[in-house]
Symmetry: C2
Subunit: 256 residues, 2 copies
DNA sequence: CCATCTTTGTGCACGCGTTCACAAAGACAT
DNA sequence: ATGTCTTTGTGAACGCGTGCACAAAGATGG
């Protein structure tokens, strides 16, 4: 998983553990695929394999939602799709705004995954006046000045931030002030929000760095197993890469 | 954090807990910002606030790297930047390939966060012959047929998959066969890989669904606290959103 | 109606991660 | 040199998440 988490710690929402909630979309995806192939029932073992998790974990996850399985048979695919959808709140319509229509914001606007499953892109917002009115993914971009009005008129409670890092906190504050209570943040910054507001973070740079760590470790172990020179390949340079460019800003939108 | 995780469970790599590794990039970012402002030292309390974590946790995290602090003073910013960079393997060059140059792939190619910190986009690969040769972010797109050769010639060990879901596993298999051992997956699928290969997942759709869950819960609690009508606002429809389009495919690349 | 077989639901134990709280260590002033 | 004050580094307790292993439940066949 490539993601950070800025959540109220350990809030077992209505008895459903956070870890379980995070897996429900995974199960739902696998179940939807089965549903399309008209598979009527599925065992915990099969479904777990499809979702890439342990079958006992899956059964325990489902037990938090209630007892929807039949012993000796398995789970009814259609019924489970419905139950999970309902639990996740996907049976209702969620208007979403995307702020910051640079490369990434535009890609998100075009992303099919948003449209499906109850999420609807209600508006695209950018600080660049030149962008205003220009359609992206068939939706005209609106100027930041309209942000509050857009949020209120459309009853938006979920906002996506795809601005450069410098603008993210400002945008976040305005979104929250206007009534947004859930934020998906793609900007490489730590956002601070009042209690009651959820923030989830997607940070490409961080994911790569984590991979690099493990990659380096693999290379080190390998060399150690082979040559076994005390210093290993991790001797490299000493104090030479101190300075580095500013943090990877998202494409370009809004003045900081 | 918006990210899934497909990791070998609880592998404490060289004594450094996985949870700590995931926070190191966060600390590094905060430290880099301090470094640019020429701040010489920082206390665990200050740095923890900047990174949005508990100060005790931060100190324990650093203790896994060694004792780099001075009691009564704090941590030397420059030194810590260097130590963390080295630990994460960012003092060396990591060539990366991006496979699937649709909207998302193109946005990733343009993303500044890749270029900084030792990551270099070595090649862009797409299955569409019409894309071949066309430059994206200044780099010419190459055809999938060249994949193996590109990986080997450039010594690539990290691959980014931004193809539609249907093509992801195939691409993954080819990357792994060619020598890639770390994968960042943006396609909405569970990838299966042999032992020794790390996969990190970034799934926009899943992040939104998790937000929706909490959003729904907030709305439910609110209504319960106010009106307290047994059914609440979560009565809605019953069994009507069973069918749904196929899963949100990433833009478009490669035939499935 | 009974026996057998499959699969769920869960009690239990274990380990990781987080946090508190404090002793040790060093800076700094006198 | 000594005392005070700040801040680190960590011991210990707690809670969450995971996975094993098994009993209960129900289907299925005779």
């Amino acid at each position: 998983m490539a993601t950070g988490r800025t959540h109220r710690p350990a809030t077992r929402s209505r008895g459903i553990p956070e870890a379980t909630v995070a897996r429900l979309p995974l199960y739902l995806r696998a179940l939807t695929a089965l549903s399309e192939r008209s598979v009527p029932t599925v065992s915990s073992e099969e479904l777990a394999a499809a979702a890439g998790v342990n079958s006992a974990k899956l059964r325990k996850d489902f037990s938090y939602l209630g007892s929807y399985g039949t012993r000796g048979v398995g789970y009814d695919v259609e019924y489970l799709v419905y139950q999970i959808s309902r639990e996740l709140g996907l049976t209702q319509d969620w208007p979403v705004v995307i702020v910051g229509i640079g490369n990434l914001g535009a890609a998100l606007a075009n992303y099919g995954g948003f449209a499906s499953r109850g999420f609807r892109v209600a508006a695209l917002i950018d600080a660049d006046p030149a962008m205003a009115g220009r359609p992206v993914a068939g939706i005209p971009v609106q100027h930041t000045d309209e942000l509050e009005k857009i949020i209120e008129d459309n009853g938006v409670s979920i906002g996506v931030i795809a601005t450069p890092a410098g603008a993210a906190q400002q945008v976040c504050d305005r979104l929250v002030a206007a009534g947004v209570t859930s934020i998906l943040n793609f900007a490489p910054t730590v956002l601070s929000v009042p209690d009651g507001v959820d923030v989830r973070k997607v940070d490409l740079s961080i994911e790569l760095q984590i991979l690099a760590f493990h990659e380096q470790r693999k290379a080190g172990e390998e060399a150690e197993a082979a040559g076994s020179d005390g210093s290993g390949p991790v001797a490299a340079a000493r104090q030479e890469s101190a300075e580095q460019g500013p943090d990877g800003d998202v494409p370009a939108v809004m003045p900081a």
